[in-house]
């Protein structure tokens, strides 16, 4: 995995983590009883984004791959359930509509991250995300 891609993914996950954390903290602390499932999903997604950002930074490749895979599954499941069972979702989450409120970045980012991580893994089969280049 090249260093530029890795650092840009860290920046993207940091921004998304900040957005999701802010949203979920407000939702969970002020109106959790109104829609517990969506707000807890938002909280979980926020934690996941922060975990992935840290994993990318620290070079925890397996954690980053599992985290992005879980994120992708979460976006697809929540996005689909939002249409198939709308009664479960009285309010929106970060992943509602496959992340449409965030410009579909929550859907695109794990795909990009998985491609970059898995390609990087084939090139450098060690456990690190990327080795120092100098």
């Amino acid at each position: 995995m090249n260093a530029i891609g890795r650092i840009l993914l860290i920046a993207a996950y940091a921004v998304l983590g900040l957005a999701a954390t802010g949203r979920s903290v407000v939702q969970i602390t002020t109106k959790l009883a109104d829609a517990p499932l969506p707000y807890l999903v938002s909280g979980a997604s926020a934690l996941l984004y922060v975990l992935i950002a840290v994993a990318l930074w620290r070079g925890w490749r397996r954690v980053a791959i599992v985290g992005t895979a879980v994120e992708l599954v979460g976006v697809l499941v929540v996005g689909t359930l939002g249409y198939a069972a709308p009664e479960l979702w009285p309010d929106e989450t970060v992943w509602t509509g496959y992340g449409s409120a965030y410009g579909w970045v929550p859907l695109a980012l794990p795909v990009i991250a998985l491609v970059v991580l898995l390609r990087g893994g084939r090139r450098a089969p060690d456990d690190a995300v990327s080795a120092p280049t100098a």
Partner: protein
């Protein structure tokens, strides 16, 4: 409110757009990095002015939700340092970190990272400015 909605808010959007464009240009052509640095400084300044204006509006009796508005405002400020994330890969910075997985970047790579980070932060700054304007009733 007039100064904010007619001057400061549009200025933040324009500077954010400039940062996004220059970030993209820098990723392709690293000699634009110097110009990007000026735009980044401009975004810091515009964000500072925006923060002061929003606080003044809140203190002057705007009925916007305080928690949300301050939250978005803090987020706007917190994301700005990400535009310098490339510096963390500079050889001297990396040498001070015992982590063997820390990336070490060459100057051209730092410029490209700064360009990419500028694209991400510029978009986020524009979205946050828009959300603040909506909450304040200026957009």
């Amino acid at each position: 409110m007039g100064i904010y909605s007619a001057g400061i808010y549009p200025a933040v959007l324009v500077v954010s757009a400039l940062v996004v464009v220059l970030g993209g240009v820098t990723m392709a052509w690293i000699r634009a990095h110097r110009v990007l640095e000026w735009a980044v400084t401009a975004l810091w300044s515009a964000t500072g002015v925006q923060a002061i204006a929003v606080v003044v509006l809140l203190l002057s009796g705007n009925d916007a939700g305080l928690v949300l508005t301050i939250g978005y405002l803090l987020a706007t400020i917190v994301i700005l340092p990400l535009m310098g994330i490339g510096r963390l890969g500079a050889p001297d910075a990396a040498a001070a970190d015992p982590d063997p997985n820390r990336p070490v970047l060459q100057p051209d790579q730092i410029a490209r990272v700064d360009g990419g980070a500028a694209v991400i932060v510029g978009i986020a700054a524009a979205v946050l400015a828009w959300r603040i304007a909506v909450i304040l009733g200026a957009a």
